[in-house]
């Protein structure tokens, strides 16, 4: 059992080793110059950077991300549903109707978000 994972272990070693090697080689071979204030600034195509390296995002990103999570969660419940559906539907239609009502409640939420313009970027 554990032997079968040997290739995975090998892959991990290679990946970590490669990353470490690159870092080490760059320190050894590359000329490690002194840190200066200019060197520590964010790189912007050779221009003098303006503002901060991490600008503040608009709240719209948050809105979209949150809605994504909510509907992502909904999908999570569909995996086990799909797996057991075939054998359960034979003796009870509960599984069908419960999923339908679950989705229809969420559908109202989706339509609501849509109508409210939550997914409309320009508004």
């Amino acid at each position: 059992m554990i032997r079968e994972y040997l290739p995975v272990l090998l892959q991990i070693i290679v990946a970590v080793g490669f990353a470490a090697a690159v870092l080490i080689v760059s320190v050894i071979v590359g000329k490690s110059g002194r840190r200066t204030r200019v060197k520590d600034t964010a790189y912007e195509c050779g221009m003098v950077p303006q503002g901060e390296a991490q600008p503040r995002f608009g709240v719209k990103f948050y809105l979209v991300a949150m809605l994504f999570i909510l509907f992502d969660l909904e999908i999570v419940f569909m995996y086990p549903w799909a797996v057991v559906y075939k054998e359960t539907i034979g003796h009870s239609t509960l599984i069908l109707w419960s999923m339908l009502s679950f989705i229809s409640i969420l559908m109202v939420g989706y339509v609501y978000a849509l109508k409210k313009g939550a997914l409309d970027w320009k508004k």
Partner: protein, 488 residues
């Protein structure tokens, strides 16, 4: 099977459908705000009718949804409290986003009904979360007010931490007993010796409920939330959420953890949940009443008095048994109706004078005798003066606590509660003094929005609430008999 589920959960289904309709109506047009309130109120009344048509006894999915006379009674009480909140919201909120607000009230009500109607820790937790999440949003609903945002944030942070503890505790209990059904847990505990690890689980589970009922030391959110949240939200947080939490807390400790009760008697403390609740009660009564003395804002004052009242109400659960539980249930119901009324008065005064500090209430008796009369009934009931409902509730609680343990073991707790009630008389009378004696100060004379000052519907509902408080004080037997019959 699904039809059966729909039939037994018909009140909840009605409320869900109403919430969806209200949400859709609110989307359609800003001018439909009035219609939204009407639909929400009608849906709640319809749900009450659905509760009345439920069978006497039924259970679904091994206790996930239980129907007994007790659950039906308290579902109706929750629905009625939600109804008054909707009326309060009709006048108090701007019509912007009204549909969402009412939908959230309805969805929170579903959470309350599930809390009341379930005997399964998992379902109770989900009900707790559904209520909590809706109430967090409702507390922070007014985006133009920094205080509202603060209220929402504080409520959310404390609430999510408390529910994390509750979930942790539930997982311990599940690990120890292998079940989440309350009856099965109770059976397991009677046969197996009670382990220390189980006490850790029990205490952790109680934390979430102590937060919900705002018992000290888990009350820190209450003052800011009661003061900053929109008035209808604060009223619903203080009433509906509290009633349902007490019902489910009582069921959990008496049915689920019954064998681990222990004893809170002064000379014979035995480890269990009773001493824990007794400590919470004593702390809440002392802290709530003493801090309330220093408040100058009426909503903050109500918040600290809510902490104290949580303490009194816990007395019944510490006493345990059928009598103690029904005393708790009666008291929390009376308290909820009183508080919704008090918040209703605060909302009207706030709209008239632009604030809810004590000085805004000065001269209310000359401006509006009706409001002043209602407020005095609510305040005197909270203070526990006869012949109002608060008096009988306290009497019932204290006598249940005295009789529960042999040798007057709980006398210390009752003494603290009496001392607290005595202190509380001062600040409740202070409010009345400002209303009836103080002259209207000149700084608060500019009305914020004079056109809305006459709101008959709200005045009628306040009068009804005051009448209920008076009626339950004069004839408490009507409700008490029902509760005692319902508590097995």
């Amino acid at each position: 099977m699904y039809i059966e589920l729909l039939k037994l959960a018909s009140p909840e289904t009605v409320v869900v459908v109403t919430a969806l309709v209200v949400l859709a109506l609110g989307l359609a047009n800003e001018r439909t705000a009035g219609l939204c309130s009407g639909v929400a109120a009608a849906g709640l009344l319809f749900a009450v009718a659905a509760v009345l048509m439920l069978p006497q006894q039924a259970t679904l999915f091994h206790g996930m949804l239980v129907i007994t006379p007790l659950t039906s009674l308290f579902k109706i009480i929750c629905l009625v409290l939600a109804f008054f909140t909707v009326i309060l919201a009709r006048a108090d909120l701007s019509s912007r986003n009204r549909g969402e607000y009412l939908a959230l009230v309805l969805l929170a009500t579903i959470g309350l009904m599930l809390l009341v109607g379930s005997e399964e820790l998992l379902m109770i937790f989900i009900g707790l979360e559904l209520t909590g999440l809706s109430l967090y949003v409702m507390a922070g609903f007014d985006k133009t007010d920094v205080r509202s945002a603060e209220a929402g944030l504080k409520y959310f942070l404390f609430g999510s931490t408390a529910s994390a503890f509750t979930l942790f505790g539930i997982s311990f209990i599940y690990g120890m007993t292998g079940t989440t059904a309350l009856a099965a847990i109770g059976q397991k505990l009677t046969t197996a010796p009670v382990q220390p690890l189980l006490f850790v689980g029990i205490v952790m589970t109680l934390i979430g409920f102590a937060f919900k009922i705002a018992a000290a030391p888990f009350h820190l959110w209450a003052p800011d939330t009661y003061q900053g949240a929109p008035v209808p939200s604060a009223a619903f947080i203080a009433s509906g959420s509290k009633v349902a939490s007490f019902v489910v807390l009582g069921k959990i400790v008496l049915v689920g953890f019954g064998p681990a009760q222990g004893s809170a008697a002064w000379h014979a403390m035995v480890a269990g949940w009773a001493p824990v609740l007794a400590a919470l009660a004593a702390l809440s009564i002392l802290i709530g009443n003493l801090v309330a003395l220093a408040q100058t804002n009426v909503r903050r004052l109500l918040a600290y008095s809510a902490v104290a009242h949580a303490g009194y109400t816990l007395l019944g659960l510490v006493a345990g048994g059928r009598e103690g539980f029904s005393a708790t249930l009666f008291y929390t119901t009376v308290y909820a109706f009183t508080l919704v009324g008090a918040f209703g008065v605060v909302a009207l005064v706030r709209r008239e004078t632009g604030g809810d500090d004590l000085k805004n209430f000065s001269g209310l008796s000359s401006r509006s005798p009706l409001l002043a009369g209602c407020m005095s009934i609510f305040m005197l009931s909270l203070a526990g003066l006869p012949p109002l409902a608060g008096f009988f509730g306290k009497f019932y609680l204290f006598s249940a606590a005295l009789r529960a343990v042999d040798n007057n073991g709980l006398l210390w707790l009752v003494a603290i509660a009496l001392f607290g009630s005595l202190i509380s008389l001062y600040y409740y009378l202070m409010v009345l003094k400002v209303i009836f004696v103080d002259e209207k100060s000149s700084s608060t004379t500019q009305p914020l929005n004079p056109s809305t000052s006459a709101d008959f519907l709200q005045e009628i509902s306040l009068t009804v609430l005051a009448a209920v408080v008076l009626f339950l004080g004069v004839m408490p037997g009507t409700l008490v008999a029902r509760i005692i019959a319902a508590v097995q």
